[in-house]
Chain length 255, copies 3
């Protein structure tokens, strides 16, 4: 079917594990390493070179690493120098610029545009169409909903760029804008359509443009009357505490 090797080009220096499947029209550049069980769909570019490649005859091409059991959907462009953990999944047409480090079990949705040098923890998911400036940092178990934008320049244009820092378990509602250099604390919840202009404390629920604190997330109730947050007590699909429960899993993490 798909994996019939039409128009595929793989650099001889690439280290592709035995069980990797590669779709038609895909290009794998030099020094790419792909772990066992990963699928790279059709029309992808893995190890895309930076602009220097086109100009500098002495250009050196660093390593690009994708872990095991991943699924890179079609038309992805993954730049050189990226390193992604195991079970990494993308939607279609993602573009992840150079030197972005992503942990295990992460997802990057269709049309995400990550500008490079990002640091992303484990089990963090970006839904469709997220734009993140260079140097944005996201912790573990963060979920960013569609079309969020992370910025890095307070007084544009400038060369004093500083990305946002988002702590573990944060949920960022769709279409939100995160201004440069802000810090968002653990378990915070950002309402859809917010603009975050200053730091957000742990467990704060914020909303608006500019966003204001509305309440503690632990005071948000579901229709059933149960507490909606912290969310790991009611949602575990794809998360490491799946089937164990969050408290039990937290105990297991203790040294």
């Amino acid at each position: 079917m798909k994996f019939n090797n039409r128009n595929v080009w793989i650099d001889p220096s690439a280290k592709i594990a035995e069980g990797v499947r590669i779709g038609d029209n895909t290009v794998i550049y030099a020094n790419v390493e792909i772990g066992d069980g990963t699928v790279i769909a059709n029309d992808c570019v893995i190890g895309e070179p930076i602009a220097d490649f086109y100009e500098n005859p002495d250009y050196h091409h660093p390593k690009t690493i994708i872990g095991k059991n991943g699924l890179i959907r079609s038309h992805a462009i993954i730049y050189v120098g990226c390193e992604f953990g195991d079970e990494f999944q993308t939607g279609h047409r993602v573009c992840i610029r150079e030197k972005t480090k992503i942990g295990d079990n992460c997802r990057v949705g269709t049309l995400c545009d990550l500008q490079g040098d990002l640091k992303i923890g484990n089990s963090t998911w970006l839904h469709s169409g997220v734009f993140a400036s260079k140097g944005t940092t996201l912790g573990d178990y963060v979920i960013v909903y569609p079309h969020c934008v992370f910025l890095d320049d307070k007084h544009p244009p400038s060369d004093q760029l500083q990305g946002a820092v988002v702590d573990d378990y944060v949920q960022i509602g769709a279409r939100s804008v995160i201004m440069p250099a802000v810090e968002i604390g653990q378990h915070a919840l950002i309402a859809s359509s917010s603009t975050i202009t200053k730091n957000v404390g742990s467990n704060d629920f914020v909303a608006g443009t500019p966003a204001k604190r509305m309440k503690d997330v632990r005071d948000i109730l579901l229709a059933s009357g149960e507490k909606a947050y912290p969310w790991p007590y009611r949602f575990d699909r794809g998360m490491p505490w799946s089937k164990i429960g969050h408290d039990q899993w937290l105990k297991q993490q203790e040294p």
Copy 2:
């Protein structure tokens, strides 16, 4: 020119009508049916399989149906199980996930990302960059302007997902966010940059974040002093009442 069959792959089980033209580098999967006169441009994937395809050796590939006289512009990804009517047009790089049903004479703009299981009526147009969650429902003669987002999760993350329901003739201004499960009544008008957090009545003009009712759409005047809405009395390009007038056409629809 374009239709020279370079690097095209068509599954033998696909049923492609005589007058269909298919661009270079396009892939047509199993059980796809394409009606006469339709153009599938270059670099498209029609009948894209769901993730199960990569994992399950017993994977079965359902039908995907595209009607007559359509134009699918380049780099479209249309998933398996979609069914689209006649005269269906897309911009470039649309991604329409599985089991989306779309009527006749519809348009889906460049970079739209439809997450699957949508139901869309007839003569409904989505402009560029619209994101719609799974299960979003749009009626007939709805126009969604660029970069709107339709959500489905009130207390993210959860598995209690419910898409919005938009009735006939609604106009949704650019960059608006439609929250989960809201219902928008016939002929409503949503201002650009709005966030719709609760139901909108028929003929309501709403604006803001969260959106508030501003007035009845029938009280909005053009610079000329004429009523701007209901819009079918002043706009008919590509609509079924073209040249007949809306009232005359409505009469013809009566049983």
Copy 3:
């Protein structure tokens, strides 16, 4: 590496200068002219025909011109009738519709969607994911930050379309919406997440939805206490006053 001519198709009538490099899977249509030193990366379409091409057997294909020393990154779709100056750079997956005129030293970021008939001056940059309606006009040294949207229809749907007009040196913050037909004066600064519903004066700093004037840009200070604006006195990377200073360069421009 990349320029090995796999699956490339170039119309015999295209005029490609000696030093142009063209990536795999790229298609160059009739009457395209590309200046010396320009790189067209992989999977691009240059001179993409308008819909008439598919329907009209007498279709005539106008010229498309790209200047010298440009870099068109992969998966760009540049329509027929566009004319771009020298040193033109794009991100990935841009789509620039027909008859768009762009000056020298301009940049159009990843996923930008320009709807045609735009007029853009020199040294103007569009960051990622900008959507601009047909007929939008941008001056020189304008910077548009990610995910901005330029509209053209006051009472949608209609055929009375009029794009915005943006004067020189304007900075438009991320995720802003520019309503139809507004004019934005020289050196104005638009805060992120704004919606511009009426004209903005020169040197005005505006913010909000709808945007209101906050202050004169010359009253905005950096953390250092220095004036942040007009920005050309503190930022020159890639600008023609680089190394000369803005005042000195302005003097050189005088007749």
